[in-house]
């Protein structure tokens, strides 16, 4: 199935939950990534529960500091 991750098409051979997608996309320090699926911010507690569906649009949002200093 195909889903969209940060604007790019990703092809998966089977249905995955959010946690598995983060693993597949090699996202390290996953506890600090905010995951948005369409209009929902997914709670970290649900990363292993929420399954992604064909065509889902997923965004990984990162903490970013920088600026002064």
């Amino acid at each position: 199935m195909k889903i969209i991750v940060n604007g790019n098409e990703v092809v998966l051979d089977k249905e995955v939950v959010v946690k598995e997608l983060l693993d597949k996309q090699k996202v390290s320090m996953q506890q600090y990534v905010t995951v948005q699926v369409y209009d929902d911010i997914i709670s970290r507690d649900d990363f292993e529960k929420i399954a992604l569906k064909e065509g889902d649009s997923v965004e990984f949002l990162y903490f970013m500091g920088g600026g002064a200093q």
């Binding site: 600090y32 905010t34 911010i41 949002l61 500091g65 200093q69």
Partner: protein
């Protein structure tokens, strides 16, 4: 208020724009923008707002200028090393544009002082140019509680992001990012590095948002996170949801007082 001949000439490229005009330029001269952090983001933001004729600019920063700042913090010059950043920033702005009144706050923001600083000049718009998450969440919560619009931004390596909060018009920073990451979890800016121009690009977008807000023109980055990847030269706008149960701006918000979080971290490893 009428313009002097010098002002008519100085702002002529603004005044000729139908979206600005004489009326808009007067709005800018009467406007007050607070910039928290006079570093990579705050420096270019302050300089463009000063050049644009924003009448009052507040600068908040407790630090002194270091040599390693000069690769990106363009408001400070080599001769300013060792000087308080707010003093150095004020001197540069004064030389750029005598129309601008610079108010300096040589301190770090905390729950004890941030509301007082925002109310000091009743600022119209706030720019978050800080490097750490305790400050970013503090600024968010203070702006939500005092009903002030602000621009969030972060930069690291070749990446940048920014969003604009306007009370009642979209999500706040906490809607999306909930709580600061643990202080020891991620490398600091110093360890990670940042391309000098990143602050210039993102800080200038923050200044653009402030100007658009003051003028009431265009579409702000409310409900949208603009991300920038300099290596791919890719800008993306991510539509953000309004989170009804947000602890600070939601319908039954639990956070009524400001929180001082521990630690100083500045980024999460990007993939």
């Amino acid at each position: 208020m009428s313009f002097t001949n010098d002002q008519l000439e100085r702002y002529s490229r603004h005044i000729i724009l139908k979206e600005v005009g004489v009326k808009g330029q007067k709005k800018l001269l009467k406007s007050k923008v607070l910039i928290i952090g006079t570093g990579g983001l705050g420096a270019p933001a302050a300089m463009f707002l000063a050049a644009a004729g924003v009448g009052t600019i507040g600068l908040v920063d407790s630090d002194n200028v270091e040599l390693s700042n000069l690769q990106r913090q363009i408001i400070h010059l080599t001769k300013d090393v060792g000087k308080p950043k707010v003093v150095s920033g004020q001197e540069t702005i004064n030389e750029m544009n005598p129309d601008v009144n610079v108010v300096t706050y040589q301190e770090w923001v905390s729950s004890a002082n941030i509301i007082g600083i925002i109310k000091d000049q009743d600022y119209d718009f706030i720019i978050d140019g800080t490097d750490n998450f305790p400050a970013k969440f503090l600024i968010n919560d203070a702006c939500v509680l005092t009903e002030k619009p602000f621009s969030h931004a972060g930069i690291i390596r070749f990446h940048g992001q920014t969003m604009t909060y306007v009370p009642g018009q979209g999500p706040c920073y906490r809607c999306i990012f909930k709580n600061p990451p643990p202080p020891d979890a991620v490398p600091t800016c110093k360890q990670a590095g940042v391309l000098g121009v990143m602050g210039g690009i993102i800080g200038t977008i923050q200044a653009t948002e402030a100007i658009k807000y003051v003028l009431g023109i265009g579409e702000l980055l409310t409900g949208q996170l603009l991300t920038y990847d300099a290596l791919d030269m890719d800008f993306r706008k991510i539509k953000l949801p309004l989170v009804k149960d947000c602890p600070v701006c939601g319908e039954s918000a639990k956070i009524k007082e400001l929180i001082d979080y521990e630690g100083a971290v500045c980024e999460l490893k990007q993939n």
